[in-house]
Symmetry: C2
Subunit: 213 residues, 2 copies
DNA sequence: ATCGACAATGAACGATCATTCACTTACGTC
DNA sequence: GACGTAAGTGAATGATCGTTCATTGTCGAT
């Protein structure tokens, strides 16, 4: 082990630390002032780092914001993976599918996944045409693993319950329901009840799949 | 009739015309560049009017954007009133309640109410902390006439169907479903199917209220 | 024809923006 | 301890921001 590599490693850690500090500061600034109010001066003040740091690590301010969007995508995916590790892997039986959906409901409204910061930033990024065109997936509903998973569960449960409706439409309804409740949280974070949100999802699932919720 | 008053009236019309042109131009600019990219220069270019016009009619750029938010609230309310005039007034019978909900579904996804412009602007305004604090109602879901109306319909239909779930939660589910489908439109306006969206709502309503959808 | 009233104009202004880059600091290597 | 390398710094820069205001244009009243 050459100490040259150690140095490079330590330096790497320092760089990444500053990167993270900048990303965190940017998130805080957007939280308070929106994307339009996220200026270098404010990010500098919030982070306590020097002015030139932003361009040093992120080339440009726009790139910093774009990387923040990507960073949050990773965080969401991590939360999602955490969820998948807790619930049963397979959805072949309706009981398992129901348990997976139930776990999804609870995860999607947990403090770790849905909070003022994540909601504000999600909606802030969605509103920016450039970031939307980027398609980081963070703001996506369709075409995600999450969507595929819900679809699988709905197919299994519809078959088991003899539900007459199109499973695809049922899945889309559940996905949209989650989206809509997120929107409600974003609009009224202090009045929002996580427990009530989960119960609303359960009530809906019970209507679609009697006997499993 | 004094011609002095006529003049004042004609001038008034010209003023309002310019106001409207500016509001429309601002909407177009936000559509393309977001709120953060809505600059006086761009609005001037889009409108074809002179630079000083904005401050003349709206005092400040921020005020122009705020008035645009209010303007769009009025437009949404107009569409909503149009909807109420078509469906039966009363919701005392489950059939009427079902018809009202059905009319709501179709209205909420009609071109007049939901289009690229309205969706983009809604999400743009929702993302701005200042405009959100303003509470124009345009971006609101809770505490609106719309919400109250859906709640009434759900209470009537739940009672008629003997639905076991809490009517309040059912109402919230339907409101959130609409919100979530709007979000889907916003994310994928070109892939979105209005007919499919209505059917998803119907599928959900059928699950909650068997026999009425 | 002249005037008053008000809308409209756009050059000019100071503030603030993102970005640059010459310079300093930190640290392992030799 | 001198050197090389890379990170960190912040004053300076030019571009662009929103706003102002002296000036011009318009039109009915007199």
């Amino acid at each position: 082990m050459t100490s040259a590599e150690d140095t490079r490693k330590k330096r790497k850690v320092d760089k990444d630390l500053h990167r993270e500090v900048l990303l965190d500061a940017t998130a805080s600034v957007i939280l308070r002032h929106g994307v339009s109010g996220a200026t270098i001066s404010r990010i500098q003040e919030e982070s306590g780092l020097s002015r030139g740091m932003i361009n040093l690590h992120f080339q440009s301010k726009d790139n910093l914001i774009r990387e923040l969007a990507i960073h949050m995508t990773r965080e969401y995916n991590a939360a999602w993976q955490n969820f998948t590790s807790q619930a049963p892997e397979e959805v072949s039986t309706p009981e398992h599918a129901a348990a997976r959906l139930q776990a999804l409901f609870e995860t999607d409204f947990s403090e770790a996944v849905l909070n003022k910061r994540s909601a504000r930033l999600t909606f802030a990024f969605r509103a920016e045409p450039e970031l939307q065109a980027l398609g980081t997936g963070y703001t996506e509903t369709r075409g995600t693993d999450l969507h595929d998973h819900v679809r699988n569960c709905c197919h299994v449960l519809c078959k088991a319950c003899g539900t007459q409706g199109d499973p695809e439409k049922v899945a889309m309804a559940i996905m949209s329901l989650l989206e809509g409740l997120w929107t409600d949280f974003h609009a009224h974070p202090d009045e929002f009840s996580r427990g009530n949100a989960v119960e609303i999802c359960q009530t809906t699932a019970r209507a679609f799949f009697p006997g499993y919720f």
